[in-house]
Symmetry: C2
Subunit: 215 residues, 2 copies
């Protein structure tokens, strides 16, 4: 008890706020927003219940702060400036990066997805700031390739969906449904396989010039 107090005093002046947010995240993840109590959050943070309300007007404000633009932002503006390289390299860079960014913010994303259904503001932010941005980057890539005739003439949105879906499946599988019981996928193997299947699936190997693809 005393030791805890000393410990928490150390991080005192800079960010008690962050300390509470971290605790809220932990508890929300474990019990969900509605299932969590401010009492438990306080305990997890090592502060008195009243202290929470010095920093956040309401319990819901805690959740909204977790989903605030500042934090969420970092997910989006990550991948830019890959050009003049092979599709395999570009896609691998994109997917690897996405997966990395996702893994870093895994818990937050998990929480936001879970609560999005009940809090329109969160849903809005999540879709606008993460999903659509991320999709836009990839969609631009798809559109280019289709226009160049390298990929089949399909709706870029469907192409994006196919790739994101394949990748997303393995991520979600791991995250939500508990992997180990079924199988534990190796990240790089999965990425390579996904890219291979995808590129083979969408590349044009039409009449005339089929030599280009062999190399």
């Amino acid at each position: 008890m005393v030791a805890d107090q000393v410990d928490s005093r150390k991080t005192r002046s800079n960010n008690r706020q962050q300390q509470i947010l971290d605790a809220a995240m932990t508890v929300f993840l474990k019990k969900g927003f509605s299932g969590s109590t401010t009492k438990e959050i306080a305990k997890e943070a090592g502060v008195a219940e009243g202290t929470i309300f010095r920093y956040f007007k309401t319990k819901k404000d805690l959740l909204l702060e977790l989903a605030s633009p500042g934090i969420v932002q970092s997910l989006a503006d990550t991948m830019e400036g890959t050009s003049g390289q092979s599709d395999e390299v570009i896609l691998k860079a994109i997917l690897t990066n996405r997966l990395e960014v996702f893994n870093q913010n895994r818990e937050l994303v998990q929480l936001l997805i879970a609560e999005a259904r009940f809090h329109p503001e969160i849903k809005e932010q999540f879709v606008e700031r993460i999903v659509l941005r991320a999709a836009a980057v990839m969609q631009r890539f798809m559109t280019e390739r289709v226009a160049a005739g390298d990929f089949k003439d399909m709706d870029p949105k469907i192409l994006t969906g196919a790739l994101v879906g394949m990748m997303g499946f393995f991520v979600l599988w791991k995250e939500f449904l508990l992997a180990d019981k079924y199988v534990d996928f190796n990240s790089e193997t999965v990425i390579d396989s996904v890219i291979e299947v995808f590129l083979n699936g969408v590349r044009n190997k039409e009449k005339g010039e089929d030599d280009e693809n062999k190399a």
Copy 2:
């Protein structure tokens, strides 16, 4: 009020239980399990709050009953007995059927996925009775094709994941993230595209006999 009472009396003896379950489902979907109150469920069902507890010992029992084997079962044993037909036809049959079954039980599945995180019993049942079964059927198909040399020599689990993921993406997109804002996909188009991409992606077009694929 009186009319409601008369109405509910009609369905009285056979299944007041079902009436309450339906209401619980509706409310759980809208507010989540923790966010729902028995009072609201009672109101939705058109019965007194106490009546709920004549049929279900606790609020949680309502949730568990919704996820009970009987109901959940119907999702699994649907697709069997397609053989001797082309991959395209088989896969289209599978995917179309899965999508149909999913759409019929959409709300239930949505609810189960949402609550699985907080209720191990539900998660267990969901994974065992739905996911693994459905996966098994598809995985058998993949294993066969790989063994026959028609598909690339990849882990059948990854192949299954790739296909399910592509398909799942569009379904989840629609369900969880609100489609219309972004785009509304036509089911058949999506299925056809997914199959095309998948088959092109995983089929063997090795040296030697490339005539087979042309047709």
